[in-house]
């Protein structure tokens, strides 16, 4: 069946319908990752958006359910050049086509995704419609596209109840899988050895740290990264009052990623202000980073077309070392908008110089715009979880 992608600017791409046969309007964004389509589809940060994959062959290794980054798939629609007809991987349990149907996500294949990406790059992120209606009328559709706004997405993606996760609950990708946390010189050799030894359950090195994870749309690997390192994680719904979180007496607070415009999350920002002054070590990722910056007086703004992919270089301003990171954001913290005495830029994006991380003064608090939990993408910055655990351990020792 034919399908159409109609852009706000009047551009129309014709292709074949994939997944669910629903008509949707959404914000169209592109992602340049060459692997990890399932992780992208199940990343709650994509709620309210339709995702274009720039890599042309999608679905090659099928669907390995263990790789899902949340319980469901979130994008409004999925746009690819070619969807694999016969996926192949020893862990594959389904085809991506069937998965899209199963999760009721409409999509379109056969699109010149490069031409589409160039439009989005040049004109900026815009809204669009995916439809199978051949009799579409542009005059009727375009005004609706222009009007469309994504709102209230954090509500949609956060968990409903708090949940306790123990280290032994950490997801096992596969019996034979050994994640690589050995990379960084930052880790002392002993730590490396421990890491090498302790994937499954990680009992050998229980740090006993208890982390409160604020779920703004958290990817599963954030909690898993902490659990694999021996932490006990309590996941809280996004709108949990600060008092309730602090009452749990956590050793650290983790602010997750999530979808949408950070400035819209007014009440969450208010709670974060209280968490910030509590003195509990905090680590924020992506939306969590933006929200904490807003709580500290910074400004955020929408980017022309955002950063979405697994190849974004970020530079640690302390060491000058560059790491390749996974990113997924359409908003950013405005450079210089946070007062120096409160927080300093710790990471910048090498490509465009934008703020990629803030280290807060006088408090054991740091946040990053990128995704150290990877999935999909490089594991280069997973050491930041170690750093967070180090902060918590230090805090515990001094208490």
């Amino acid at each position: 069946m034919k399908a159409f992608l109609i852009l706000e600017d009047g551009n129309v791409f014709t292709g074949t319908a994939i997944g669910a046969r629903r008509e949707v309007i959404s914000e169209i964004v592109f992602n340049t990752s060459m692997t990890g389509y399932l992780e992208v589809l199940t990343d709650p940060s994509y709620a309210g958006q339709a995702v274009v994959m720039t890599y042309p062959l999608i679905g090659n290794y099928g669907v390995c359910y263990a790789d899902m980054e949340s319980a469901d798939a979130w994008p409004d629609a999925y746009i690819v050049r070619e969807l694999a007809r016969l996926p192949q991987n020893f862990r594959s349990e389904n085809t991506l086509e069937a998965f899209l149907k199963e999760r009721d996500i409409p999509g379109i294949a056969g699109v010149d995704t490069r031409a589409l990406t160039k439009i989005l790059r040049e004109k900026g992120t815009m809204n669009g419609m995916v439809t199978t209606n051949e009799a579409y009328e542009l005059e009727e559709i375009l005004p609706r596209l222009k009007e469309y706004r994504v709102t209230g997405v954090v509500d949609r993606v956060t968990c409903q109840e708090k949940k306790l996760c123990r280290p032994e609950d950490a997801k096992v990708t596969d019996e034979s899988y050994k994640p690589q946390y050995l990379l960084h010189e930052m880790l002392p050799q002993a730590g490396r050895n421990q890491m090498a030894a302790g994937n499954k359950g990680g009992q050998e090195r229980l740090t006993g740290c208890r982390v409160a994870l604020m779920d703004f749309g958290a990817k599963a690997n954030i909690a898993d990264s902490l659990m694999r390192r021996g932490c006990e994680v309590t996941v809280y719904p996004a709108f949990t009052p600060a008092e309730e979180v602090l009452a749990g007496n956590p050793d650290g607070i983790m602010l997750s990623n999530g979808p949408g415009d950070p400035a819209e999350c007014v009440s969450i920002i208010e709670e974060l202000k209280k968490l910030f002054v509590s003195g509990v070590p905090m680590f924020g990722i992506c939306l969590g980073h933006q929200l904490l910056a807003l709580a500290n007086g910074a400004e955020t703004e929408k980017m022309k077309y955002g950063h979405r992919g697994a190849n974004h270089p970020v530079k640690d301003l302390d060491t000058g070392k560059v790491y390749i990171s996974t990113q997924n954001h359409g908003y950013m913290v405005v450079d210089g908008s946070i007062p120096e005495e409160i927080g300093k830029t710790s990471f910048i994006n090498v490509n465009d110089g934008t703020v990629e991380g803030i280290r807060y003064a006088k408090r054991p608090v740091f946040t990053v715009q990128f995704h150290p939990e990877a999935c999909a993408g490089p594991q280069d910055t997973s050491y930041l979880f170690e750093e967070f655990i180090g902060m918590m351990a230090k805090k515990k020792q001094t208490e």
Binding site: T32, S33, M34, T35, G36, L38, T54, Y55, P56, L57, N60, Y61, C64, D67, R81, E82, R85, L86, P87, Q88, G110, D112, T113, R114, A115, T117, K118, R121, E122, T173, D174, E175, S176, Y177, K178, P179, Q180, L182, L183, E185, G309, N311, H312, P313, K315, T319, G320, K321, V322, Y323, I324, V350, N351, A374, C375, A376, G377, P378, Q379, D380
Partner: protein, 1064 residues
């Protein structure tokens, strides 16, 4: 950190002559790196023995030494030039080894030279088997368990520990001979015993067999600050067991989930960090297809063939960045040259699929074993880019220029299913065609996978192509089907053949349906950032994004495709120089080529680069878009010449020598007429079409005769026949290859061969110099030792100049012409004329200092020789001698016949340049790796007609202290003529025979002249093969032996002098 201040003068070591496994990729890398260094104001001293390369041009480095690559020579150059640093990571294994030896001997420290780009510790950790293993174990990276044994019992015990199957690799046998995979104790005992016997050091490596696992590679960069990035990863379609250089490779990986991708990526970063590499590195992994288990197969701490491929596949200039890192820059300080905005500290995102297919030389070596193993056999490769895997594969197949332009080959016609199954089991270059045939016959994917271990994803992709073939055959041709066929890159010709239409009809149908190729940019970032680098590939069903770049007149230069024997790196040299000259003259240049190893496909050579197959249809797509003002075909070898007529049909003006005149040189009757008109003699010859006509012609001319197809390069299919049987056999072989052109039978004259390359402006000619071949006629000019200047009398010189002028004028040559002559009984005959660039162009340009490609390009644009500052005619001889020595890769090709003849067999060349003939000759042999003597023992066996000459050869070797062994006949003859020779038993006689003698590893040299014609003895063949495979030098021509003697007789008398060709 910015550039290290005290790096001012850097010595770059090249990789030497092109051999299988170490080829043009190092010219590409070296050239890019040298330019990158010069850009930073560093003075570059280059040493590389290979004159055919662009890197050895005087405008690439400041000082250029085309000298033999060995430790002594490099020492001398260091003493002379006093560089402060050495960059050893650009010249492959050859350069690394030299640097290691210099470092370990303390020479570098003594002369205050440092290694940049890597340290000797790094090299050692990566290259030394044991150190590598220890290092990997330290950081928890798995390697396949292995051990070195000297006794069969130890091998059996080890295999008992790690389990069968095991791989046996004898140490120090070239070409991997004697190795294999053992599935049982019996097999192991058998293979290991043989391996130990063949190994010069009596050792074998026994290793866990991981054949059948996925083979994945990562290209990694790291700077001194510890920042690491991966440029890309690549997946081999052929599982572990086939050398990656012989595998079909796809980038990025297709069947890995993000978990596997990142696991291996992290491992690669882990390894480069632990090895403390600053620069580029290649890590090869074997990944179990059904678990996350993996092993590190190999790490190359330098640029490599894979890094050249990765550079072209992504647009990320690895060599350039590696050179900057060596100077101290950090990755985030180096601009991404493609976008001009972002930095080198990122990872390219691809929005297309890249497929590489190796170019294997089995068309040249009919007797060679086609089986692909861990010993690389390919001489070159093609790469293609498309938005689908199927499309990229189809484009790569036709880029190979092997008379196949789809998965359809008639080879399997009439075979039974059982035979197809047997073919699937054979791992050779035809495997994908066998799989396609199996799919056509309805074999299940599982069965094909079970036999080949190729991932089902790839098998299904081949099936998509087979299904589409069948749809085109059966279904009515409509817009939808045609669009789908084109999306999958079926050429019009193939579609036409399948649906019973003509190519033209399909073309017109496409026009009618509006189905046309679009061009997309390779931009390193999947369109995330605007890029300015015009590096394009085509695909169907997409929007075109090529933009007009200038209002200048456009000239298209056609490249030479994959490197193969007979059409090597020399043609890339010519294409690149032509592009440079045309640019300089103010034209917009467009290059089309498909070879990822070459300089011409670097994105900053021409104004626009189209990475495309060189077929008429693919070129037409570009022509229709670009509407070039002209095309240059004379620099791209036969590949470009073959496109001449198609270009004319498309309305493209051929610049320089016209198409008709290229034809005239190939068309025997036309050419005979021209020779006759010019009163130039040539050996008598006939044009024939059938074997019987050939026999008749041969008898009339009198044996021996030369038999060859017209329109080929490198003497392909050319043989010397001494009898009717020979003629019939050769015609049979020639006809195996589709032969649209007639066959030539010529009288064979055994005289002295000479050659010139000349520039002609339509009237006047310029000949930089005459080259003379050491071997008498009958050995292909590319395989002969070539001497400049030729020792000829003024009279002969004048004749050559006169003939060249006459021929160039009659053929209306505008540009380059190459002519080969034979001097026979004081008469000059013309044996071959090619109105285009030739293999000797780079060599003669460098040794005479006359840039003939640039001059030819200017002539093509309308300039006259007189106006360019040259007096017409032959230029005065230089005061030095320059000798070009062919280099072969026989040890890599099991079963290949090594004896030289009219068909070219060498893969590369090196140069010896010096003030005296003897020193030049000595250097040339040294550069080719002939470094005698060690044991002063040799074997001399010659055919009957050579016996008389052999006496003199034997006498001279004896005078040098050699002990001569010979088979009984030759020995008796030699002894009778006063040369002491020790008789040895022939192969079929009882031990100790000649084979045992070679296997004792005490023989320095084998001189074996095979009888001509098809009656070649099996004995001689075996002796030559065993010599090559055990690393013994083997010569098959007495002329070569005599030259070697001359070199030996005069060696060691004086210290070698180092010649900087930039200052000739």
């Amino acid at each position: 950190m910015p550039k290290i201040k005290d790096i001012k003068k850097v010595l770059v070591i090249g990789s030497g002559p092109i051999v299988i496994g170490q080829a043009a990729e190092f010219d590409y890398a070296g050239t890019q790196a040298c330019r990158s260094l010069k850009e930073e104001g560093v003075c570059v001293v280059l040493v590389n023995s290979n004159p055919a390369t662009i890197m050895t041009d005087k405008d690439i480095a400041d000082m250029v030494y085309i000298e033999p690559l060995n430790v002594d020579v490099v020492r001398q150059i260091i003493r002379k030039e006093k560089p402060d640093s050495i960059l050893p990571t650009l010249g492959g294994q050859a350069a690394l080894n030299i640097a290691m030896e210099l470092e370990e001997s303390g020479f570098l420290a003594e002369h205050h030279v440092r290694l940049i780009g890597t340290t000797s510790l790094t090299i050692k950790k990566a290259e030394d088997r044991l150190e590598f293993k220890t290092t990997m174990e330290k950081i928890g990276e798995p390697v396949a368990p292995s051990t070195v044994v000297e006794r069969v019992e130890d091998a059996v015990a080890f295999a008992g520990e790690i389990g069968y199957p095991v791989v046996i690799r004898p140490a120090y046998t070239l070409g991997g001979s004697g190795g294999g995979i053992a599935h049982s104790r019996e097999e192991l005992e058998d293979i290991c015993a043989n391996g130990l016997r063949l190994s010069r050091v009596g050792q074998c490596l026994i290793e866990r067999c991981i054949a059948g696992w996925k083979e994945i590679e990562y290209e990694v960069m790291r700077d001194a600050n510890g920042t690491c990035i991966t440029v890309c990863n690549m997946e081999n379609l052929d599982p572990v067991g086939v050398h990656t250089g012989d595998s079909i490779v796809v980038a990025p990986s297709q069947t890995l989930s993000d978990k596997e991708y990142q696991m291996l990526r992290s491992s690669a970063l882990n390894i480069i960090t632990e090895l403390n590499i600053t620069g580029g590195c290649n890590v090869q992994f074997a990944l179990h297809p059904e678990t996350f288990e993996y092993c590190v197969i190999e790490v190359n701490p330098r640029v490599s063939r894979s890094s050249a491929l990765a550079s072209k596949a992504t647009g990320y200039p690895i060599a350039k960045v590696a050179a900057k890192i060596a100077l101290g820059y950090h990755l985030d300080e180096i601009k991404n040259a493609i976008t001009g905005k972002t930095y080198a500290s990122f990872e390219p995102a691809l929005d297309y699929v890249v497929v590489k297919i190796p170019r294997l030389p089995f068309d040249k070596f009919i007797s060679a074993k086609r089986t692909l193993t861990t010993q690389m056999k390919a001489t070159g490769e093609v790469m293609s880019i498309c938005t689908s895997f199927e499309g990229a594969l189809m484009k790569a197949i036709r880029s190979l220029e092997q008379h196949v332009d789809s998965l359809i080959v008639d080879y399997y016609d009439g075979m039974s299913d059982e035979e197809i199954k047997e073919h699937l089991e054979v791992v050779d270059d035809r495997r994908i065609y066998a799989i396609a045939e199996a799919i056509r016959r309805g074999f299940s994917y599982e069965m094909i996978h079970e036999i080949t271990k190729i991932d089902i994803w790839f098998i299904d992709k081949l099936a998509v192509l087979v299904e589409t073939e069948q749809r085109i055959r059966k279904e009515p041709m409509n817009a939808e089907l045609l669009a789908e066929a084109k999306r999958l890159e079926f050429p019009d010709r193939v579609i036409a053949g399948l649906c019973g239409k003509t190519e033209r009809e399909i073309y017109l149908l496409r026009k009618e349906y509006g189905i046309q190729a679009a061009f997309k940019m390779v931009d390193t970032c999947a369109a995330e950032f605007a890029a300015s680098t015009p590096y394009y590939y085509s695909c169907f069903g997409s929007r075109n994004e090529v933009e007009e770049t200038s209002g200048r007149k456009k000239i298209m230069v056609l490249g030479s495709g994959p490197i193969r024997i007979g059409q090597g790196i020399e043609f890339d040299y010519c294409s690149v120089h032509s592009v440079w000259s045309l640019s300089e003259a103010g034209y917009e240049t467009i290059i089309i080529n498909n070879n990822p190893e070459t300089v011409s496909t670097d994105f900053d050579i021409a104004d626009k680069l189209y990475f495309e197959p060189l077929t008429p249809e693919d070129v037409r797509n570009i022509v229709e878009l670009e509407k070039p003002d002209g095309a240059v075909v004379q620099f791209g070898g036969q590949t470009a010449i073959k496109l001449t007529q198609s270009l004319i049909d498309m309305g493209v003006q051929i610049l320089g020598t016209s198409g008709e005149n290229v034809d005239a040189a190939e068309d025997r009757e036309l050419f005979d007429q021209i020779l006759e008109d010019c009163c130039i003699p040539r050996p008598a010859g006939r044009t024939v079409f059938t074997a019987e006509e050939a026999v008749e012609a041969a008898r009339e001319l009198g044996y021996p005769v030369l038999v060859r197809p017209s329109y080929v390069l490198g003497g392909q299919g050319m043989r010397i026949a001494v009898s009717d049987e020979d003629v019939r056999e050769f015609i049979g072989i020639i006809n195996q290859i589709a032969q649209e052109h007639p066959i030539l039978v010529d009288k064979y004259l055994m005289g002295k061969e000479m050659e010139v390359d000349a520039v002609c402006d339509g009237e006047e000619i310029l000949i930089p110099g005459i080259m003379e071949h050491v071997e008498r006629a009958g050995i292909h000019s590319g395989d002969s030792i070539s001497v400049y200047p030729a020792a000829v009398s003024p009279k002969i010189r004048a004749v050559i100049e006169d003939y060249t002028r006459k021929l160039a004028r009659s053929l209306h040559v505008i540009g380059l012409i190459n002519i080969q002559f034979i001097l026979y009984e004081d008469e000059v005959y013309v044996i071959e004329v090619n109105p285009r660039s030739s293999r000797t162009v780079p060599y003669i340009s460098k040794v005479t200092g006359i840039p003939i490609v640039a001059l030819a390009s200017r002539v093509i644009l309308g300039e006259k020789i007189c106006d360019m500052g040259y007096a017409p005619g032959i230029q005065p001889d230089a005061s030095h001698y320059a000798i070009k020595m062919p280099v072969f890769s026989f040890e890599k090709l099991r079963g290949a016949e090594i004896s030289l003849g009219p068909e070219m067999k060498s893969t590369g060349e090196c140069l010896g340049i010096a003030d005296t003939f003897h020193e030049a000759l000595y250097k040339a042999f040294l550069g080719a790796g002939v470094d005698l003597p060690k044991h002063r023992k040799m074997i001399l066996t010659v055919k009957d007609s050579d016996k008389l000459e052999a006496v003199e050869i034997g006498r001279r070797f004896q005078a040098l202290g050699y002990e001569i062994y010979a088979t009984r006949n030759t020995a008796r003859y030699l002894t009778e003529h006063g040369v002491e020779a020790i008789p040895v038993n022939k192969l079929e006689q009882e031990s100790p025979n000649i084979m045992d003698l070679i296997l004792e590893h005490e023989i320095d040299l084998v001189v074996d002249t095979p009888s001509q014609g098809s009656s070649k003895s099996k004995d001689g063949f075996l002796i030559r093969r065993v010599s090559i495979e055990t690393g013994v030098n083997c010569l098959t021509s007495l002329d070569t032996a005599s030259a070697l003697l001359t070199s030996l007789e005069n060696s060691g008398k004086d210290k070698l002098t180092m010649v900087d060709i930039a200052r000739l």
